[in-house]
Symmetry: C2
Subunit: 328 residues, 2 copies
């Protein structure tokens, strides 16, 4: 049984209300109260499981884990930002299959002394991002831990289409991207150096803006393979190249450098194209299309699929890291 809401034993000295004070059920009540579930949520939070519509007889599902100090810092990002980012990382994985999201679940592990308002902010962020694609937070679980860990599961529907996997790229296809590249990396570079501006790139790091609708649009247009850019374009396209048994060659000059990235790059002495090639967390979509396919709005051709293996830039191997280094 959850402690009663007026239990104060676990409050910190400054009267911050903590997770320990309200308990699991108190938190769940706070973050589910007065939320409006969309039509796809057939049964929302409050039972052993949720029930979500899967209209074409299949469900698309993925999970992403974000850890405080590894994927986010609460001195750099607000709890709302963290919630948005956790949802965005998953919703982009649904979009990358050519699917449309139908619901989110969250598995949360948090220290007992976590202020409830941090967790409420996190839930607000999850709901805000979910609202962009008309889905709800349909279920979850909360446990006590030493470090804040947010594990989000996203569900989606393919609307009767085939899933666009990583393995369908064929020599002759074009490679195209949709959404921001390098913005989050530029923002992280700024924050790492102790700055808080320019706001545009710092905000991009805090709150990715994946082009959710572009995923289904690419599927409809005939995309042969697709991936969301979470680790870095080179690193993620390497998965497509490997799964498809092809080489992907990018053209450096095909990347139009946004003025903001050029300015930040100049200030920090970094070639902004490197951020665009190796920066993750913007959750752009990268897809391959048969040649002469009319591309959906927002996609720009940046390279071609060829015979061979690996990812090259202008025919050459890229020097240096190709993206986010897991566990290093």
């Amino acid at each position: 049984m959850a402690p009663s809401p007026n239990q104060e034993a676990s409050n910190t000295p400054d009267d911050t209300v903590t997770l320990g004070a309200v308990g699991e059920f108190g938190l769940i009540a706070r973050v589910t109260r007065e939320r409006i579930q969309p039509a796809a949520t057939l049964l929302g939070p409050g039972d052993d499981s949720a029930v979500v519509a899967a209209p074409d007889g299949r469900v698309v599902a993925c999970v992403d884990v974000l850890v405080e100090g590894v994927h986010f810092r609460l001195d750099w990002s607000s709890p709302v930002d963290v919630g948005r980012k956790a949802a965005a990382a998953n919703l982009a994985d649904i979009a990358a299959m050519g699917a449309v999201p139908t619901g989110l679940l969250v598995g949360l592990a948090a220290p007992r002394d976590t202020p409830v308002e941090v967790l409420e902010g996190l839930a607000d962020g999850l709901w805000a991002e979910a609202g962009l694609v008309d889905v709800g937070l349909v279920g979850g679980d909360v446990a006590s831990s030493s470090q804040l860990v947010v594990s989000v599961t996203a569900l989606g529907t393919l609307e009767g289409r085939e899933a666009v996997t990583r393995s369908g790229a064929r020599p002759g296809d074009v490679v195209a991207v949709c959404g921001r590249l390098g913005w989050s990396a530029a923002g992280l570079a700024v924050l790492t150096r102790g700055f808080r501006s320019p706001g545009a790139v710092v905000d991009a790091h805090r709150r990715p803006q994946p082009p959710y609708a572009a995923g289904p649009a690419a599927a409809v247009a005939g995309a042969t393979a697709m991936i969301d850019v979470s680790d870095g374009l080179l690193a993620d396209l390497a998965h497509v190249a490997e799964a498809s048994g092809v080489r992907i060659d990018l053209r450096r000059t095909a990347f139009a450098i946004p003025d903001r990235l050029r300015d930040v790059g100049s200030a920090l002495g970094v070639d902004p194209v490197d951020w665009m090639l190796t920066g993750g967390e913007d959750h752009a979509l990268a897809a391959t299309f048969p040649p002469s396919t009319p591309l959906p709005e927002g996609f720009t051709v940046v390279g071609a699929v060829e015979e061979g293996t690996g990812v090259t830039v202008d025919g050459e191997a890229h020097e240096g890291p190709s993206g986010w280094q897991h566990f290093t």
Copy 2:
């Protein structure tokens, strides 16, 4: 990009291969290799998302978070046991809706120095438990953290039936349970006192044996409400009583005390019925049925639904805790 498999920098001095050494992709390769996916897995691990069958146009979904030191101890349970328990907790939540599981996803956060064999054992346990109900581990994510956190998502199908929620119990219904009660609590009591036997109750704590098939069977038989006993029978039935707007009264004499529990209770000076009423983690199923419903095999009547609120035992409030105390 994942570190190359022969990278040794993160190995511990005794040459244990760690998560940090093999990296995220190395771990995923190890735990997905040579696994056979059942028919419901339309697209398994290795892409942005998985695709799972949802034959009646709906998907049942739930998430449970297990934290090392809170929900399990690796000196008391093997990694395989932890994996089984994490899967069981979720699969029981699917069964408690009257649904049949279709797939599992896992969000894992683990310290970099975690031996890979611990995580392989955990994956083996997830697969072993999933195999009991013919489902696969269809996807997941791995992140670096200071504490081992296992967040499992289970998916299921209602096979065309309505979900059995917590809110359908009506005065006059009988309350029945299926599966073990109190065994895990007795095992925990033994372990907490520094013993490792009797093996039957210790094993019950390490590896719950939820009666998965009893959930759909109860739904088919006409169960009006159902819940899985994860926190303790009294605590969990309190959710049913609250959601249904009824009182639930249990009969203490209706609980047949297994000899094992009686023996352990005698040795430790505990009334075994208290374990049966308040012990969680066995993941028994508790359901209500209209009077005179022929109960499915394995269900035993232990009480009745009445007008009122709360849960009573022989008409009286239960003294002491009613189950697992979250965050206390």
